[in-house]
């Protein structure tokens, strides 16, 4: 071979080396293990105090909402849907109507019962806040799951197969995208809330929380599918995809085993942002009457039902509104921290 084999050996200074360096089949053991993608991201995230703090805030809200039955049963001793229009409670030694004769509910008592006051039906706002949070968060997570599953699948298929499938999927996604999310949600939500949904043997009642979850998940699909598609378009041209094809791998195997793992950081980045968006959209839809249906509580329905009494009992709007802001802010700031940690140059923004 014209690459003179002894030549590099002569050039390289060898520690204590005299004789020629045998270049054949050196097993190099002392590989410095590189730092993995996710470990590096975790380090960056750990330094991001703001993101961690807001993440903690969100987790606290989730835990509190999960403990709603405990609060309702052991502290407030009143159910979330128990009306108490004619009842009275004792506040600081005085006996007060839960709902006054002219329809004004009691304000925050800062005691176990009616901590945040009552609503017009005499229901405990604090209890309903936690139960409503369960609904809102459940819808947020379910919707995010639906969005991620279908968004990733659609983006993967469109980017990988390109051609006709891509064109059809792109147009379908464009149709969803063309409508403002809230408008589309109201339109579909209203019709589904009235009629319910029948898919084969599966019947979903109009007041089920699956309807807003499904709806919100559906509305956000293009926001995930489009960037995923773009990434897949780039990934499918990589040599390792050629290598897999050369080995005889089929298309599905290549998509699932070769390309999908390379999308994981995008997916991780998207999840908290979609959860935040979904919670917010749920509130908007419920506020407009197209989301969660009464008497079920959610933060959106609570805000809506409290609105007529905004001047006399502002806590009816401010309490669920504040909780909504905290939850969305928490998951959003945390999500952005995760994004910055995983991919400091990322361009992903949830277009809204």
């Amino acid at each position: 071979m014209a690459i003179n084999q002894s030549q590099p050996a002569e050039r390289l200074p060898r520690a204590g080396g005299v004789g020629p360096l045998l270049l054949d089949d050196i097993v190099v053991d002392d590989v410095v293990p590189g730092i993995g993608h996710y470990r590096l991201a975790a380090r960056r995230l750990r330094r991001d105090r703001t993101a961690l703090l807001f993440g903690l805030l969100f987790i606290l809200i989730v835990v509190a909402c999960l403990l709603a039955p405990v609060y309702s049963h052991d502290i407030a001793r009143i159910g979330p849907n128990v009306n108490n229009v004619t009842g009275t409670i004792k506040v600081d030694g005085h006996t007060v109507d839960v709902v006054s004769p002219d329809g004004i509910p009691v304000g925050p008592t800062w005691h176990a019962r009616y901590f945040f006051g009552a609503d017009t039906n005499g229901r405990d706002v604090a209890v309903r806040l936690l139960y409503g949070g369960r609904t809102s968060l459940a819808i947020g997570f379910m919707a995010a799951a639906i969005t991620m599953i279908f968004g990733v699948a659609a983006g993967l298929a469109a980017g990988f197969y390109r051609g006709a499938l891509d064109a059809v999927l792109a147009r379908l996604l464009d149709i969803i995208w063309a409508y403002p999310a809230v408008l589309l949600g109201v339109a579909i939500g209203t019709s589904l809330a009235l009629g319910g949904l029948k898919i084969g043997p599966l019947t979903i009642e109009g007041n089920s929380i699956f309807i807003p979850a499904f709806l919100i998940g559906f509305v956000y699909i293009p926001y995930v599918a489009k960037p995923i598609r773009g990434q897949v378009l780039a990934l499918r041209e990589k040599e390792f995809v050629d290598a897999a094809r050369g080995l005889g791998c089929g298309s599905v195997r290549i998509m699932v085993r070769e390309i999908l793992p390379n999308l994981s950081s995008t997916i991780v980045v998207f999840v908290p942002l979609i959860v935040a968006g979904a919670i917010l959209l749920e509130a908007s839809l419920s506020f407009l009457g197209a989301g969660v249906q009464p008497p079920n509580a959610s933060w959106g329905t609570m805000i809506q039902s409290g609105l007529p009494l905004l001047t006399t009992s502002p806590q009816l709007v401010l309490v669920p509104g504040g909780m909504l802001v905290l939850a969305v802010l928490g998951v959003n700031v945390f999500g952005e921290g995760v994004r910055d940690a995983l991919d400091p140059k990322s361009q992903i923004r949830l277009g809204r």
């Binding site: 690459i3 590099p8 089949d25 050629d242 290598a243 080995l247």
Partner: protein, 338 residues
């Protein structure tokens, strides 16, 4: 084609192979305004147990040729035969049994390994396709890693934890996992340090002797392929300009382009370097494959070019010893015609 293998059916053969890529001007009404011809009328044959080197400058179509031969790309003209079977237009399903026999090792060891898979998974992909799974696959992966000179304990590491040479070894192990007959090596050592190049080339040599593999070894300089090749094909602008036994190409180059490539090999012998008469390395840039020069494609850069070179494309002609060259004025041969 070559004297050595005229009587046998070649393992892998290309005939009149052409690969054109459309160069599209408008995005909307996608009528290609012109074509880039990466591979133009290339015929070659790879025989069992042999190594055929393919050499040429960057952009001369070596990689396109390699991708056509392993059918990662569909050639736009000509045929590819594997053991006499036409695989030029074989579908994915028809190719499946053949895929395992023809493997490819890629130029960039970084890009050709999935960054999100562990080495064990990467090497096991082929095993899984062969139906080997579980602990048998585990054992086999460790064997393969040992075979290519890697530590079998590193199965759980990711590609980024390895050096370039080691990554290329992983790529070779992945190809070996399906027990191939032919490996198309697309500049397997170009991305590596010179010292590592020698290691990998020697590894390939050993594997060939142990397993009776046949190689198509693509490289951009003659220095690398000399050591491993039985025969060498020299490509220029998508065409083969010279094809002969390795010693012939080195000892008696017929095409001025081959001579220029040989002259470009840096000498390691100071005495020779001083005394050597340096023939002019081909000046200028290689031509444009979208509109190649008329006549002989090399004529704008050739010191021996005459009028006939500017108008007539020289055919690939056999000289003594089965030495093929496409030149009107071959070196060391007294004028052929006018």
């Amino acid at each position: 084609m070559s004297a050595a293998g005229a009587d046998r059916v070649p393992l892998l053969a290309a005939s009149g192979l052409q690969q054109r890529f459309p160069v599209t001007r408008s995005l909307l009404f996608g009528r290609p305004s012109s074509y880039l011809t990466a591979v133009d009328d290339v015929s070659l044959a790879l025989h069992e147990g042999e190594t055929l080197g393919v050499v040429g400058e960057s952009g001369c179509g070596k990689t396109s040729l390699a991708r056509c031969l392993v059918r990662l790309a569909r050639p736009t003209g000509g045929t590819v035969h594997y053991r006499g079977q036409d695989i030029t237009h074989a579908s994915a399903r028809q190719l499946r049994p053949i895929r395992a026999e023809i493997q490819m090792v890629f130029q960039d060891p970084e890009a050709s390994l999935n960054p999100r898979q562990r080495v064990g998974q990467i090497v096991a992909t082929g095993l899984r396709l062969r139906g080997v799974g579980g602990s048998a696959a585990d054992r086999e992966v460790r064997n393969l890693l040992a075979q290519v000179g890697l530590n079998p304990e590193h199965v759980n590491r990711f590609p980024h934890e390895f050096s370039g040479g080691q990554r290329q070894r992983i790529g070779i192990a992945r190809a070996l996992a399906v027990q191939p007959k032919v490996i198309v090596l697309d500049e397997p050592v170009s991305a590596l340090d010179v010292s590592i190049q020698a290691q990998v080339v020697n590894l390939l040599d050993d594997l060939q002797q142990e397993q009776g593999l046949s190689y198509l070894f693509v490289a951009h300089d003659l220095a690398v392929v000399r050591h491993v090749s039985d025969r060498i094909a020299v490509m220029y602008l998508g065409q083969i300009v010279e094809l002969a036994a390795a010693d012939e190409v080195y000892g008696r180059p017929l095409h001025p382009y081959t001579a220029a490539l040989l002259a470009a090999i840096p000498s390691t012998d100071p005495a020779r370097r001083r005394g050597r008469h340096r023939p002019a390395v081909a000046p200028g840039e290689p031509g444009n494959p979208i509109s190649p020069p008329p006549g002989c494609r090399f004529h704008p850069r050739c010191g021996r070019a005459t009028d006939v070179c500017r108008t007539t494309q020289p055919p690939l002609v056999a000289y003594s010893g089965g030495h093929l060259a496409a030149c009107h004025h071959p070196l060391g041969v007294e004028s052929v015609g006018s």
